[in-house]
Structure formats: structure tokens, C-alpha cells
């Protein structure tokens, strides 16, 4: 049946949020493995085995206006403010939350991380962005954040390494690099005063994106981690597929090419030779030939990423590989109602298989 109309899912009755639940671990802390914390939209309490909280103790959920602590030893971080001093106090020590989220404590820093929020750029983040506007010496890039980021002409690799007078570029020439609508992968170099990010692509592994497919997911599904450029070895003769997970929720899935490695002849390119090694090809919009088998696998990987985020599982290399394998197995089984798009039940099954547990009840399944 090509069309399936389902009745709406019952809204879960929410139990009072005193249940502690594991938060998304902040990857800035050391020795972090990609553990999936499953958080359903309902408030179903999870079995104790899932509550892996390394730092011990319970983390709680706070709402705006709630006092988190009044212990003076804590420094306040994002998502909080210092309450005004009351009578009898010299200086206010009460830390009050400004967003609804989980309390995270890193050393002496106390911050409240909202459950869902727009991506806020941080220096060093790898992001995928789309050019929105072309101005005389820079581009404005959409990175799914509160503000558009800027990409200065001086922050990109100019092909051929010719020393150019950057002051006298006219509109047409600047569009030969990036034009409106182009997708690129870049790193956040710095932040402006108002919080807008400034990007740079000064490495061969950054730059214009081609040979693939763009997926947009919720930014909370992609956490900062060591590596954001994954390579999957795909089944069914698809070859190798690169997955670029932008921290801002933009994901690029493409066929692996020699250029995307950032290496030339298998060796890293040193920064002094960057301008000479970068050629015209890095700004070309022409795709290579991509075999149908690879396209199919690219579509499958895209569906896996979407399915993971839909079921509130963080996307990282281990999980993605596991869900992908589950998806390949599902399609091999040749069920009558094969749903390759993983939108409905099919996606849930794959995610469950990968996690090894039942998403609704939170119990482990026998593998």
C-alpha cells in the first residue's frame, strides 16, 4: 500500500518530573565513549541500568526561575543568572536557571543545558552551512543558528595560490567561489561581539560540498565529538560513503572522493603549500559519476540519520554503523511491507536493533 494513514499517537500522560534521568553527556569531559542515552518523548521512567551518569549523583531538570543552588562555591555558566542579593546578604549567591533544561556541572562551573535549543556556535566547531547572501568581501552563511555566520574572503583558499588584491573583487568573480545556495563545510574560527560566528575553510578537507545529499536534523542529535567526518563502508556494492555531521544539525552524506580527504596523494598537505596545492577543482560544482548502488546507500544512510534523531538517539560513529547494519538487514529480509524510508515502524525497529532495547518500555531486548 503506497499510502498509510495512521491514527494519531496517544499523548503520554506526564508523570511529575522528579525522576532523574540521564542527561546528554557533555563531550568536553574526558574519556567519553559514544553511549546512547535514550530519552523518549514521554516521561516513562527508564530501567535503572540505563542511568549511566559518570559523575555520580543525580542530575535534575529545572525550569526558568528555579533556584539551582545557593552554594557560593559554584561559578555560573550558560543558562543561569545570579539572583539579586537579598537582605542580609552582601552579594547574591543564588544561581537561578533561565532555561528549562538539565543541570550540568563541570568542575566548578554550573550551567543549565536546555533540552532543545538552537545551535549556538563555539570556536572550533565543524559546521555545514549554506550560503545565503554574497556581499562584496564576504559571504553570509546559514548555519541553523540564531544569527547568520560570516565567511570572509580572506578565510578561504584561493585556487592557484596567486596573490590577489582582495579589495578589488567584483560581484561576478566572488561568485566563482561560492554563490547563493552553495553548501560548504567549515570550522568556526572566532565569534564576533554579538555572537555571530566567523568561519574559515583553510584546509583541504573544508570547502564546497558535492557528490552527495543534504539532510537537516535537530541540532541536539549531533553532539560535539572527536571526529565529525565519518566514513562508512556500505553494503550492496555502494563503496565508501563520507558522512559529515555538522554540529549545527546539518549533515552531508556523499560518495568518498580523493578530494574530500584533504590529502593529496595520500599525504597531508602542509599549510605552507596549501595555496599551491589547492586547485580550481575545489570550487567546482560538478559532481563526479556516482553509481546507482552508491546512491541507494547514500539514501539509506540519510534515512538512518533521520531515524536516529527522530528517536532521540545521538548520532555518532558507533550508533550510525549499528543502525545502518540493521537497516541493511531489514531490507535483505524482503518483508512484504518493506519501507526503505525508515519513516515509521521500520525506522523504529532498526534503531531498537542497534540499541538492543525496546524504545517504548526501555527494557533490554534479547539480542
Amino acid at each position: 500500500m503506497p499510502i498509510s494513514i495512521l491514527p494519531p499517537r496517544r499523548a503520554h500522560t506526564s508523570k511529575v518530573a522528579e525522576f532523574s534521568r540521564s542527561s546528554y553527556d557533555d563531550d568536553r569531559s574526558a574519556a567519553e565513549e559514544g553511549e546512547a542515552d535514550v530519552d523518549m518523548e514521554g516521561d516513562i521512567p527508564m530501567s535503572g541500568a540505563l542511568q549511566r551518569n559518570k559523575r555520580g549523583g543525580r542530575t535534575s531538570i529545572v525550569t526558568p526561575g528555579e533556584v539551582v543552588t545557593d552554594d557560593p562555591q559554584w561559578m555560573r555558566g550558560h543558562g543561569t543568572y545570579l539572583a539579586v542579593a537579598e537582605e542580609g546578604e552582601e552579594v547574591g549567591t543564588r544561581i537561578v536557571a533561565t532555561v528549562a533544561g538539565t543541570v550540568t556541572k563541570v568542575n566548578k562551573l554550573l550551567s543549565v543545558k536546555p533540552l532543545r535549543a538552537r545551535y549556538t556556535p563555539d570556536i572550533g566547531d565543524l559546521v555545514v552551512g549554506r550560503i545565503m547572501e554574497v556581499q562584496s568581501k564576504r559571504w553570509k552563511v546559514d548555519i541553523n543558528s540564531t544569527q547568520t555566520a560570516h565567511l570572509l574572503l580572506s578565510s578561504i583558499n584561493l585556487p592557484g595560490g596567486i596573490l590577489r588584491k582582495r579589495t578589488s573583487t567584483d560581484e561576478l568573480q566572488i561568485r566563482t567561489f561560492f554563490s547563493e545556495g552553495d553548501l560548504l563545510v567549515a570550522e568556526v574560527q572566532s565569534l564576533f561581539q554579538d555572537g555571530a560566528a566567523s568561519l574559515h575553510t583553510r584546509s583541504l578537507k573544508y570547502g564546497k560540498l558535492r557528490n552527495g545529499y543534504f539532510v537537516k536534523v535537530d541540532a541536539k542529535g549531533i553532539q560535539r565529538s572527536k571526529s565529525h567526518v565519518l566514513t562508512l563502508a556500505t553494503a550492496n556494492g555502494g563503496g565508501e560513503v563520507d558522512v559529515i555531521l555538522g554540529v549545527n544539525g546539518y549533515v552531508w552524506i556523499a560518495k568518498k572522493t580523493s578530494l574530500s580527504d584533504g590529502k593529496k596523494d595520500g599525504k597531508e598537505v602542509s599549510i605552507t603549500r596549501l595555496e599551491e596545492e589547492a586547485s580550481e577543482a575545489i570550487y567546482s560544482s560538478v559532481n563526479e559519476f556516482i553509481a546507482p548502488a552508491t546512491r541507494r546507500e547514500i539514501a539509506r544512510v540519510g534515512n538512518c540519520v533521520r531515524a536516529l534523531v527522530r528517536h532521540d538517539v545521538r548520532v555518532d560513529e558507533e550508533m550510525l554503523n549499528a543502525v545502518y547494519e540493521a537497516a541493511v538487514e531489514e531490507s535483505m529480509e524482503e518483508r512484504g511491507d518493506a519501507d526503505e524510508s525508515l519513516d515509521g515502524d521500520g525506522g523504529r525497529r532498526c534503531v531498537e536493533k542497534a540499541l538492543g532495547l525496546d524504545l517504548f518500555s526501555g527494557e533490554f531486548k534479547d539480542k
Partner: protein, 302 residues
């Protein structure tokens, strides 16, 4: 969430990849659906107690649409200027857009047009007495417009809402002013089992000669050669639905140069051969039949 202009930007490399994927035989859609597969939908009817009929539908990409139908008694104008066409008024509101936005206008007209074809008996059922008739107000609210074109979502929601519409039962004589039964349980459904069902509109995209896709995403719409909105009506007596209207929609405005430069795929220029259109319409008949069956399932379940 108003549709933002950001969603209309797409890079030449992406378009080229999409187009070449969709032009393959067999085609590969970016989300691996089959060409006739729809994204999962959620639907419910009879949700607004103050209306004569209502429905709500949530589309695969999050678009949500609520339709409410109210009926009011109106005196029938004796002259020929009182066209029966005016007995049904369709209003479409897309949150975040102006009232006279072309999209809203187009959608309203498509829905209105398809309801008032010569063969639909709807206006006859709206007659109360020779002097009075029901005026049907169909108000469509697109709460979150879907990222793709909302025509199908609207028409399916309207179809469900119409099928859940009930009209109060008349208890007065035909030459008096109309008086109705207060008991809502005695009300008559507007669409009975034997009457022709309200129509639906399907969006179809074609790429190259042979590939035809249903429920297209926004990107698929922008690389297609031809985008048609096909309105279908079905009646329980017939097997296959009938085509009651075809409209051409904008396509291929992906923002890339019309000339092929450096291998970047050219924007579609030129039209489509007539045999492609004929093939599209034939395919939509069979898909339309399944859609009607599926909708029937929703109505039966309630």
C-alpha cells in the same frame, strides 16, 4: 512556523545529484521511497465540536492542517444571478503568509473548483426548501505548512472533513421557514454511502520520460520536468476514480543557469511531451484509488 526563504536555496551540486538520481531507471529517490510511496500520515476526524464537520491531518514532514466546516442557512436568490457556485465558500489560511498570497489563493481555487464539477451532486444536497439552502463554509488552516507543496495535504484533509460533516434534519414543511431537529444524533451526513465522494488532489512530478513520483519533497519539485496537480473523484459505484481536473504547477526553479555549464545540469526548459502527461494521469488513477481506500479506512475507524 512560517516557511522561511532559506528552504528555497539549493546548490547546483545538490540539484545535479538529485536530478541524476531521479532520472535513473529505476529511479532512486533521496529518501529511498518507491515512486508511489507516500510518507506516513496521521489523520483524525470529528475533532471540533462546534463545527458541522472537521478533520486534522499531519503530513510526513511535519506539516499540519486543520479543516473546519460550518453550514449556515441562506435564502435562495430567485434570479439567475444566484449562482449555485456561491453556495460553497472555501477559505485557506496559511499561517505566516498574507491573505492574498498566491499560494493560498491557488489552493482555495483548486479545492473549490474540484468540489463544484458538473457531476458532483453536492449542491443538490444543500437545498433545504425552494426558498432556502445551506451555505457551506470550508475553512482550511495550515498550521505548519509542509516543506513541500501543501495541495495534497489540504485536499485530503478537506475530503475527510467533508465526509464527517453532518447537517441537521429538517422537520418543517417545505413551504415554511426551515426548522431543524435539535437532536444532533438525528442529523444527516452530508455524504452518504451512495453519493459521490469529495475529491482529492494529488501532486505528481515527472522527470525525464519514464519516471513519475508521488508525494514529492520540495527538492524533487524543483528538479522535476513537469509538476501536475491532479484532482480525482470517486464514487462507490465505480472501480477507478475519475479525473476531474488537472493543473500545472511551477517547477524547475532551482536557481541554476538554464545553460549547462561545466556539466552542471541545466534547469528544465521546455515542456513535456503529451505522452508523458498521459502516462502521469494513468498512474495517478491507480494511486488515487489506493488513497481513497485508505481514507475510507480512516472514516470507518471512527
Amino acid at each position: 512556523m512560517a516557511p522561511s526563504t532559506l528552504t528555497t536555496l539549493i546548490s547546483p551540486a545538490e540539484l545535479s545529484y538529485l536530478r541524476s538520481s531521479l532520472a535513473l531507471v529505476p529511479p532512486i529517490r533521496p529518501d529511498a521511497r518507491t515512486p508511489t510511496q507516500f510518507r506516513p500520515l496521521v489523520a483524525e476526524i470529528d475533532i471540533l465540536p462546534s463545527t458541522n464537520g472537521s478533520a486534522r491531518m499531519v503530513w510526513g514532514d511535519g506539516g499540519e492542517c486543520v479543516v473546519g466546516i460550518k453550514a449556515e442557512v441562506e435564502p435562495t436568490e430567485p434570479t439567475s444571478y444566484g449562482k449555485r457556485r456561491n453556495w460553497v465558500e472555501v477559505g485557506v489560511e496559511v499561517q505566516g503568509q498574507r491573505d492574498d498570497d498566491p499560494l493560498g489563493v491557488f489552493l482555495g481555487m483548486t479545492v473549490g473548483e474540484s468540489l463544484l464539477t458538473p457531476t458532483s451532486t453536492l449542491t443538490e444536497r444543500l437545498v433545504i426548501t425552494p426558498k432556502f439552502h445551506w451555505k457551506l463554509y470550508i475553512d482550511i488552516l495550515l498550521i505548519t505548512p509542509p516543506l513541500s507543496h501543501p495541495a495534497t495535504l489540504l485536499s485530503l484533509s478537506t475530503n475527510l472533513a467533508l465526509r464527517s460533516t453532518r447537517i441537521p434534519r429538517l422537520i418543517s414543511e417545505s413551504d415554511e421557514d426551515p426548522i431543524f431537529d435539535d437532536d444532533w444524533d438525528a442529523s444527516i451526513p452530508l455524504y452518504s454511502i451512495t453519493s459521490q465522494l469529495p475529491p482529492i488532489t494529488l501532486l505528481v512530478v515527472s522527470v525525464e520520460e519514464r519516471n513519475i513520483f508521488f508525494d514529492p519533497t520540495r527538492e524533487e519539485l524543483s528538479v522535476g520536468d513537469c509538476v501536475l496537480a491532479i484532482s480525482l473523484a470517486s464514487s462507490p459505484a465505480h472501480d477507478a476514480p475519475k479525473v476531474i481536473g488537472v493543473r500545472t504547477l511551477e517547477s524547475g526553479t532551482g536557481g541554476i543557469a538554464a545553460d549547462a555549464k561545466d556539466g552542471v545540469v541545466a534547469a528544465s526548459i521546455g515542456g513535456v511531451k503529451r505522452r508523458v502527461i498521459k502516462r502521469i494521469i494513468k498512474e495517478s488513477l491507480s494511486v488515487g484509488k489506493e488513497v481513497f481506500e485508505s481514507l475510507q479506512g480512516v472514516v470507518d475507524a471512527n
